[in-house]
Symmetry: D2
Subunit: 333 residues, 4 copies
């Protein structure tokens, strides 16, 4: 249940306050040059360094312990781990029986019969996305596509030039906001995605919803396409390469990439941990009690999540790209 | 690539104009009573019978050829097929080199190197959802939850009392519209969904995006939650059973069901096939040409799709429910 | 649990006395020419026509209902079914509470809580191998290798020229025998099989042990290699293509094909159903009682099983061959 | 390709001369007490300490970095790694273009286009079985069965009291021998294994053939059953619990455990690396040349492999046992 992919396979492990988190990356073609700088940059982008970010700053030094030889992939599974160093576990002890609203504390306790590592959200912590980012960096090393993202909205703000001012204000209120990120994949090719259950949009949606705090995913126009007619929504094919006049479908036809830019929008909910006093059920007191969440958190996790979303998409794309390679060349023989 | 599920496994086959479509359903617990009427009713709900529906009316008689004995599941895979009877293949011959906008005709041709069965959209046809509906009916036979749905919006219309009038108007224009369906699952339990990559929302999103024409999926408030603060978004736990004051998260915490109603909204794009003349690239003429799409189609496929969405959710829920059973009882020993 | 394969996927359904058995074949490359005659010949080889074979002779007409268009694979899943026509179910009613020795009657009843279709062995019947043979025929259509087999021993007989005389004698005694089949795959290439858990020998062994009555699998010298030294067992590489002096390892190095002939031997146990009176526990009488097994059976099922074993190997080889294709061409880019 | 299992999932990584080897273990029920001593003992049993064993002695200290909290499984994936400390890589440089007979050197080079880590056999090294042993130890913590093994034959020797003398002799000749191990699982239950493709024997055979040097697997009488009649081979059921008079089928009926002892025999080929001078193709010299294999090796790897085989069986059993749990309790509701 902690593995994703058919050909490019990612197996994730780790919990927020355990010694380390890590990932086993399987299926990267032998000979792929390892871009250490890319991994560093991607991890850097995920770090909390903006206004209103959590003060838990991890060094995020990554260690590769198998699958790389002479700076190239060997074809064996690649194992990478990152230590959890900056851990303050006592923050969490009080929350054992007083679950934080918006978090998985309560369901985790029920699901794992009380044996879960509750510290820092355990395996539900956003901390694990650091290992996913690394897996995505490896995926990008073998992909010919170009993945970009843009923060479209944060809370009610759509003019990103005012973001620091806006978040400072919310931080001062002890509150948090969510946001919408748009990821665009350029230089796409035709034919990625496999019907019926491994369509490209279905696989990417699965990966994106795996990221903590994601509550909505839409391709192309998405929900806002409800207002227009089919004659307006349909993307007219203009060239023999499949280029279309509009891209309302977000680069997908029947769940298969159609060669136009892949466009997906993701809604990330407001950070659940806030400074403001909240209420929640207390299982010791057997009643609703006030709660002040300790720990160290972001006022808008959406600001750091872009690279996670991009890299999850990279993971999904490489898995489909390898499948595409399988059948692409058979015809030549 | 045509199978879904880890414990409850659905394998789909068929193409629009081949002799039949069908599904192999694996993992239904031995002894489950087969509800033939439920299958019939579900198939009936999917049939085109509203104003502006396609005149291709299939009898949709289903045949079970294995896995059922004395009206109960035997524990073996269940095979069900439905014949394609009302097929008019000549409609589609002209479209071979003149792909319909909004359809998978073009990508299918590229992906399968011209060997695809192009008639009626082949395997990309909405026709295959009839077999999925059947698989979902079987899933519901083993589920203790209650699945309902509501059409929230169709085109610009939100007052459903005026739907026939509205669709007649669009049909007269030779055009089509999309819509938004909300599915609600009641009597949920705590603990469905498996981190990291098989969270309940991730699995359901994957299944929902597998349905042709779905372009957006959101849980709870979804995208509209971007406007509010964390203190408002967080659902406050009120009882020891995990009941919450609000349900902004749509019944999910960390991707795991939290016992509150599961609420998901799905955007279905406008039907791609319309009577109106459109333009698209003609691979014979090597230029953009006018196209009149023949065949028989719906003005608003969203109207028939509700039961497909519900039943896809049932498939995903049963797979997770069986996983849940695996670990639920181990503690008792 | 009824599906095999990562890229070439076979999903099997059916029970001995249900309307039909069938198979969904997924992953055959689009454009593969369908060799109908090959399927017919393979099914013919499996038919009981020798001395001492069961008189249940099925026509075994196969029906393809999807995935083939203009005599070529479309890239969609191929569904094939075969009707169960020559069924005499009353033979089996007496066995409900008096399980046949050597059969799965007893475990099936326990495992499926009495809901299994017990007639003719249900899903444990050798009947299902007819559908597997068909799946293997399709696999062979896309494979460049040559698969052959030889009956090496039947009972105590190793001189196959006397087989009819030998089996007539055993048939007259109302008894049965097992045997050893050797399958050889020629024109192999280097590199099939994926460490660690999808090695070629591991995958083939899994498929071979899936065939009813198989109780032993060995590659190359197999168990008889226990008597010799490493210096004798090791196959010396003689050429740059990897040709070896001996082939004690059966064409495998580290579980990966090494380009020499693949050689595997399979032990098939004596047919469980015999005319001779046997004893077994009677769950109604609550004691061991004499049993005369009715039904129609083979004195040496091993004689018909060769094509099943060959075709199971074909299924495993194609799955690995497609995986091999995935990575083979990436280097060229 | 480096993961095994449906519910109990083991993902293996590592290469002989990389910093470490490790395993991600997923699906162990939350709350399972961790038996550290069992892991230590199992690793100890695998260590080279007999006469004629390799002098590469690793400390094999195992490190758990996630999934365990308060000495119990949390329900999250468990990551365990073991460092490769006693590594002498220069031994292997000469073998780059002069592949060792009986090893995967040559196929590995071809398969991974020369990018494999060739040192010490890379991922094909027996070294990786240390991590598998650990995974098996964890499996045993959640299993109610008792797994034992016995060395039945080593080379031509069947009287194990003379083993040291026998192996000293072979060691002095600079040669090696193989052997046959019998594993017995006691206290089995009825119903493990899932037709059609996940039968218990099929899954165990797959796992056993994954172990380096295994070339044959048979259940119960195995190949030696070819000599007897069906009336002798059939195991007569004597009790309502399914106990049989004989156990020729090795505790399996139709690939499903029948409650009697599970009995499997495994042939392990002679160690490929020997001191004796051998011949093999030299890719630099382009001809067959003499080779003296350096490195440090066992005269009879079969002597250390028993715990690996037992633990692989434990892995397979737990996966099937969890599946069995899924359906076992559904009937009670």
């Amino acid at each position: 249940m902690n593995s994703y992919g058919q050909l490019f396979r990612v197996t994730l492990y780790g919990e927020s306050h355990q010694p380390s988190i890590g990932v086993v990356i399987d299926g990267l073609p032998a000979g792929t040059p390892i871009q250490y700088e890319l991994i560093k940059e991607d991890l850097e982008r995920r770090k909390p360094k903006h206004i209103g970010s959590t003060p838990r700053l991890e060094a995020d030094v990554f260690h590769i312990t198998s699958g790389v030889f002479n700076d190239k992939a060997t074809g064996s599974p690649i194992h990478v781990y990152i230590e959890n160093k900056n851990v303050i576990s006592k923050d969490y002890d009080a929350l054992k029986n007083h679950p934080r609203p918006g978090h998985a504390d309560f369901v985790s306790k029920v699901k794992y019969h009380g044996f879960q590592d509750h510290r820092g959200g355990g395996r539900f912590s956003g901390r694990l996305t650091a290992a996913l980012v690394v897996a995505g960096s490896f995926a990008k090393m073998a992909l010919p596509f170009q993945i970009e993202s843009q923060l479209k909205q944060i809370g009610t703000l759509t003019d990103m030039s005012k973001i620091d001012e806006y978040l400072t204000d919310i931080s001062n209120q002890g509150d948090s906001v969510g946001g919408i990120v748009e990821v665009t994949v350029k230089k796409m090719i035709i034919g990625l995605g496999e019907p019926f259950f491994n369509k490209l949009d279905a696989e990417l949606a699965k990966l994106l919803f795996s990221v903590p705090a994601v509550k909505g995913v839409e391709f192309g126009l998405g929900f806002s396409g409800v207002d227009i007619y089919g004659s307006q929504f349909n993307d007219v094919i203009l060239t023999k390469d499949g280029q279309t006049k509009t891209n309302n479908s977000g680069g997908l036809s029947g769940g298969i990439s159609n060669g136009n830019d892949l466009v997906v929008k993701i809604f990330v909910k407001p950070t659940s941990s806030i400074k403001k006093t909240q209420e929640t059920y207390n299982f010791e007191q057997e009643g609703v009690e006030k709660l002040n969440v300790g720990g160290r958190h972001d006022v808008a996790i959406v600001r750091r999540v872009s690279v996670v979303l991009e890299n999850m998409i990279a993971i999904g794309l490489l898995d489909q790209y390898l499948l595409y390679q399988t059948y692409r060349h058979l015809e030549d023989e």
